[in-house]
């Protein structure tokens, strides 16, 4: 397997990470056609991919920033200062002793294994999960499942890859999907053959660690007819060695009767712009379910979607967003009904702490000619402080009479009486807060895989501890 080391850009005032300036492959800063060619050369892209990148670059350049509806904070991204590709020879030069104490404490509280701590803190460039990954790869490989990096996918399995790549999310979907299409590297390619039900969730964690975290990841997952897959991405551990702009694209294709569940838990450091496009295409009787947890970052914009293209297709988005002080979680869901008897469900919960801000944007489309389509949308916001903020922008377009839509929204606040009640039972203010918050997300978290729900609970505890000082 080809190892790639993605950019290790650093926020120098956070923890004083220091890396040498020499890289084996470095596209330099800024973006031009030259950069695209450079990346295509390094990655030995086939011609069609090079073309794809160049076209995407043009689209990216021509598209305006979506600031007419999204946060003005996007203007703080200076595209000319970003390194779009850099690989090899990146060896972090820092000792465990230099890792800030609060970072160490976080790792400890989250129960991150020793080896992984060093990797996450940037002490080691590689977390040696190669062995774990190749075991998983071998196990699922026996069932005919392909589980590789996107680069390997497009090289070794072009017949499947090319058929679906960029089809669910066209390059020009938005400015950031165009950017990703131009400079993508890293990410997964998975193909599950007809009827194969992958028993254990596949974890990007192992594969991506083997490659290091990607900044412009590109993931494509195809479940053939009747196949089933659960995929997990990210981890609750805060990532300290990340670049400031993350722009991933994830496309899911569930063919007739297939089921895909895609789980993300991400905890970005507070300097990161996390602008991600995720969409699934569900054919007849197929199901695509996104479980999405967003914690941290400076600004996250992410609206996982499902296009229900075949009869009786189902789409679901369950999401939790936690906006800490100074952070903005702009998340939501898009449900596009494109066949009869399709059903979608959106449950979104957000928590705003301090001056944190959570925005919910929903889009539900049921055109007039369709019959018996259903959507259920629930969005609940919890405000921790009087300075916390939440906004909801549901856009529901339902035409025709044979369809039903249900929409519920609530905003609640952790009340002082509730906290006093819990404190009277011996819990500190922070414990009381985190119990309240955990209670708020509890019914959603219960649907998560065990290890994620436990980690999430601990993470909320940590966040609340910080918030009451």
């Amino acid at each position: 397997m080809v190892k790639e080391t993605s950019p290790l850009e650093i926020e120098r005032n956070v923890g004083n990470f220091a890396y040498p300036e020499t890289h084996t492959h470095d596209a330099g800063v800024g973006l031009s056609e030259k950069t695209i060619h450079y990346i295509a050369d390094i990655k030995e892209d086939p011609d069609w991919v090079r073309e794809f990148r160049l076209n995407a670059y043009k689209t990216f350049m021509s598209k305006p920033m979506p600031t007419h509806w999204a946060s003005k904070d996007l203007e703080a991204i200076v595209f000319d200062n970003i390194r779009y590709y850099l690989s090899g020879g990146v060896q972090p030069k820092r000792n465990w002793e230099d890792v800030p104490d609060d970072v160490k404490r976080t790792f400890e509280r989250l129960g991150i294994p020793e080896q992984e701590r060093k990797f996450l803190a940037g002490v080691e460039a590689q977390f040696d999960s190669e062995a774990v990954y190749s075991n998983i790869k071998k196990a699922v490989g026996e069932q005919g499942v392909i589980f590789v990096g996107s680069r390997e996918g497009l090289k070794d399995h072009p017949e499947i890859f090319r058929k679906w790549f960029g089809k669910v999310i066209p390059t020009g979907d938005n400015k950031f999907s165009a950017l990703n299409s131009a400079v993508f590297s890293g990410g997964s390619f998975i193909y599950v053959p007809p009827g194969v039900k992958v028993k254990h969730p596949l974890q990007a964690y192992f594969r991506i660690n083997a490659e290091n975290f990607g900044q412009f990841e590109r993931t494509l997952i195809i479940c053939d007819e009747g196949a089933e897959l659960t995929y997990m991405e990210g981890c609750t551990a805060p990532k300290f060695n990340t670049a400031t702009l993350h722009s991933a694209v994830v496309e899911l294709v569930a063919l007739k009767g297939a089921k895909i569940q895609y789980i993300t838990v991400q905890n970005w450091s507070s300097n990161v712009f996390n602008l991600v496009t995720k969409r699934g295409l569900a054919h007849e009787d197929a199901e695509v379910k996104w479980i999405d947890c967003n914690i941290g970052s400076r600004l996250t914009m992410k609206y996982p979607g499902v296009i229900m293209k075949g009869r009786r297709a189902r789409g679901e988005v369950l999401s939790i967003a936690l906006a800490g002080d100074g952070q903005h979680q702009d998340t939501g869901a898009k449900m596009v009904h494109a066949a009869d008897e399709t059903t979608s469900n959106i449950i979104s919960k957000s928590i705003s702490i301090g001056e944190g801000r959570a925005t919910y944007r929903g889009l539900v489309q049921i055109p007039k000619h369709l019959k018996n389509c259903k959507n259920n949308t629930e969005c609940d916001a919890l405000l921790i402080n009087s300075t916390s903020r939440t906004d909801t922008y549901p856009a529901i377009t339902v035409r025709g009479t044979g369809n039903s839509v249900q929409h519920e929204a609530s905003v609640s606040q952790v009340s002082a009486e509730q906290i006093f009640y819990m404190q009277q039972r011996g819990l500190t203010k922070a414990q009381a807060m985190s119990l309240s918050v955990n209670g708020f997300v509890n019914d959603l978290v219960r649907q998560f895989p065990m290890e994620y729900s436990v980690e999430l609970k601990r993470l909320i505890e940590l966040e609340m501890e910080g918030s009451v000082g």
Binding site: A416, Q418, M422, L427, Q431, N438, G439
Partner: protein, 255 residues
């Protein structure tokens, strides 16, 4: 020194003086009752003892076993052995009784010590049986959708689990039907003993038929105006508070 003692307490909220020079001493091992008309400041007193942040203490002290607790956070007071059964318990959506109580019991253990789950559940079920509570309650969210009586019973369950040194029960009897009242009283009586002092706030003599107090205090307009034995409760039931409201109680002072 083994007592909860309140010395010349003055408390205000919203510029209004509610507790106006109140003194009260309750030795460990005793049960005291406070009776008084609506708005006389009984709940205010209970919350101030527990350290509610909204009330302004103008002067006075509250000591537990000789230690001044005025500067302690509500949770510190709780862990030192103070318990308040609320007149209006809060709802905590999404947090089950089992998890909530577990966190509360865990909070009392020394740092680094993990609560043994089997021991915890054994004790929880024992106390629930005592209070004739269905076990399905453990998986319900704290007080959410509970009837008035169920909330009160849940307060006593917490009392029984946390085994405090001093407990203040604020109108635990209100909202209980007669059978529930007996069950709750039985639960409280089971806890009585030399290691706990219990302060019962109530409007009704009826509760005191089941939880027989050692002393009864009459509270009117923020002060204890009379103290006596359990027969005082009967007298109050008969004659009301009127005579105290006119006698030696001055105009409420502005804070």
């Amino acid at each position: 020194m083994n007592q909860l003692s309140i010395e010349d307490l003055r408390v205000s909220i919203a510029e209004q003086e509610i507790i106006r020079g109140l003194s009260l001493t309750m030795p460990k091992g005793e049960v005291h009752a406070i009776m008084g008309p609506n708005g006389s400041g009984k709940s205010t007193l209970a919350k101030v003892i527990a350290g509610h942040p909204d009330y302004k203490v103008i002067s006075g002290t509250i000591e537990m076993d000789g230690e001044n607790i005025m500067e302690l956070e509500p949770d510190e007071r709780s862990r030192k052995g103070l318990f308040l059964a609320f007149q209006y318990p809060s709802e905590i959506p999404g947090v089950t009784i089992a998890n909530f109580l577990r966190a509360a019991v865990q909070a009392r253990l020394p740092e680094g010590e993990e609560l043994e789950a089997t021991d915890y559940y054994a004790k929880l079920y024992e106390k629930m049986d005592l209070l004739e509570m269905d076990r399905s309650f453990t998986s319900r969210s704290v007080n959410e959708g509970f009837s008035g009586g169920e909330k009160k019973r849940n307060e006593i369950l917490q009392l029984a689990m946390l085994q405090p040194k001093y407990a203040v029960l604020d109108e635990t009897d209100s909202g209980l039907d007669i059978d529930a009242l007996k069950v709750v009283a039985h639960g409280v009586n089971a806890m009585r003993g030399p290691d706990i002092g219990i302060l019962v706030i109530t409007h009704y003599q009826r509760l005191l038929d089941y939880i027989i107090p050692d002393h009864v205090h009459v509270m009117v307009q923020g002060r204890i105006v009379r103290s006596g034995g359990k027969e005082l409760a009967l007298e109050l039931e008969e004659k009301g508070y009127e005579r105290y409201e006119t006698a030696d109680v001055g105009e409420p002072a502005m804070a």
